[in-house]
Symmetry: C2
Subunit: 257 residues, 2 copies
């Protein structure tokens, strides 16, 4: 008897996020699914790992036959500890999300969703992060179903190039026109903090701000197409070495290769 593919699912919005259950429902007919997600929400945790405290893993729920485990740590902790202590065999694919909120543009660098995918990618497991451009816990994910099923099935069949995972973003509250394969839009964040004064007269700050897209009219970028109701797929390379620039940096620093 052929073994069904094993699909490892995680996220950064925690075991209680509707997006996690939606993702399970999109792919459960493609294989055996195990979900391992943070016990608490960890948005903005990037590739953070827990080095100075212990971790626990617990079987906390089942969703339409899929066991859901919680880990008392970050999204990357979930993938590491899940692979170490939970899965019965090596997963054939790892999926992260569906995130409640965008991971387009360069916000991918802060994304727990994408860093969970990158962690699996580093161990050689094909991985995909899915995100919906809507923060609400009551967001409507239904439009994303055929896209998630289709992309996941294809990657299960063919794999992905070594060291590369996919970052898939979906527009929200609209019909999805189709899919575009693009790069991340370049930009930065502005007006990043709101300032307050505490009851003792001392200041404190809270992170806020908005993404300032430096190339809003560039059809080579994800933001361009998301704004026009397309889903976007960005292949993300784990190794950030700018190998094409080694000679230029050598010249700049006066160092021979």
């Amino acid at each position: 008897m052929e073994t069904r593919p094993l699909i490892l699912v995680s996220n950064d919005d925690s075991v209680s996020a509707p997006g996690l259950r939606h993702l399970i429902d999109c792919v459960s007919h493609l294989g055996d699914v195990i979900a391992i997600a943070p016990a608490e929400p960890h948005s903005g945790m990037s590739s953070a790992i827990t080095v100075n405290s212990p971790l626990r893993v617990e079987h906390v729920d089942d969703h339409n036959g899929t066991p859901i485990y919680s880990v008392s740590g970050t999204p990357v902790d979930c993938v590491k500890l899940g692979l170490h202590a939970v899965v019965p065999r090596r997963p054939d694919i790892m999926l992260s999300g569906v995130n409640h909120g965008s991971n387009s543009g360069n916000s991918v660098i802060y994304s727990g969703t994408m860093d969970a995918a990158m962690e699996a990618c580093m161990t050689g497991i094909p991985s995909i992060g899915y995100s919906l451009l809507h923060h609400s816990l009551k967001a409507d994910f239904s439009q994303t179903t055929p896209f998630i099923t289709d992309i996941t099935a294809k990657v299960l069949r063919t794999g992905l190039p070594s060291g590369v995972c996919l970052n898939v973003n979906f527009p929200a509250q609209c019909a999805i026109e189709g899919m575009k394969i693009v790069r991340a839009a370049h930009g930065y964040w502005t007006e990043e903090f709101q300032k307050y004064t505490d009851p003792h007269g001392k200041p404190f700050y809270w992170l806020t701000g908005q993404f300032n897209n430096l190339e809003p009219d560039n059809p080579a970028t994800d933001e361009y197409w998301l704004n026009r109701h397309w889903a976007t797929i960005v292949p993300v390379r784990v190794d950030q070495s700018a190998t094409d620039l080694l000679p230029e940096i050598g010249t700049l620093l006066g160092i021979n290769p």
Copy 2:
């Protein structure tokens, strides 16, 4: 009167780390230095940001004339809040470290040191992360001084290509042979957790493990040269989009560009 360059310094080992003070001493003759670092150690925090709690910034110390500020958050929080609320003008360069421990190979993905540098890079400030391959708080940084001064002075003069920062690692407890400009070695971590049983009979885990270098004999990589007592410089690109693979991913998923 010409304004001296402004040098922003941060790290992930906290305001009390000797590596921070060493970095200040290496560059203080090159400009005005301001250090803004986490109040507590944040190794392994990657690009984590604090979104669900407030942040405080405090002037906590001075080191040979350089003010040191603490931020009650992550390394990336330090750069964001430092640029927003502390610096008197836009820094000409941002330096991170000197980290107590390696950021070579693909461990850069978990590195608070390098993600502080990447945060500055995203706002267009040339930035460099410095790390010493020794975890001890009593590590001897003295060998690194001429290299840090030289690299920093050159980057202050010429800048760096857009969207790229430098990841500099130094071997420890040896004479440094020289500098090599290379890419990060590829690998993954193994035997990642130690398992324990708590007094109530329930299991818990603690992250451990070691880097499994997939290409130990490849002179194109940082690990190769660090093992041979050279310092290594890896240019790190913030945008992880694998633009060279867009056609291949399109074929794989059956999507036209």
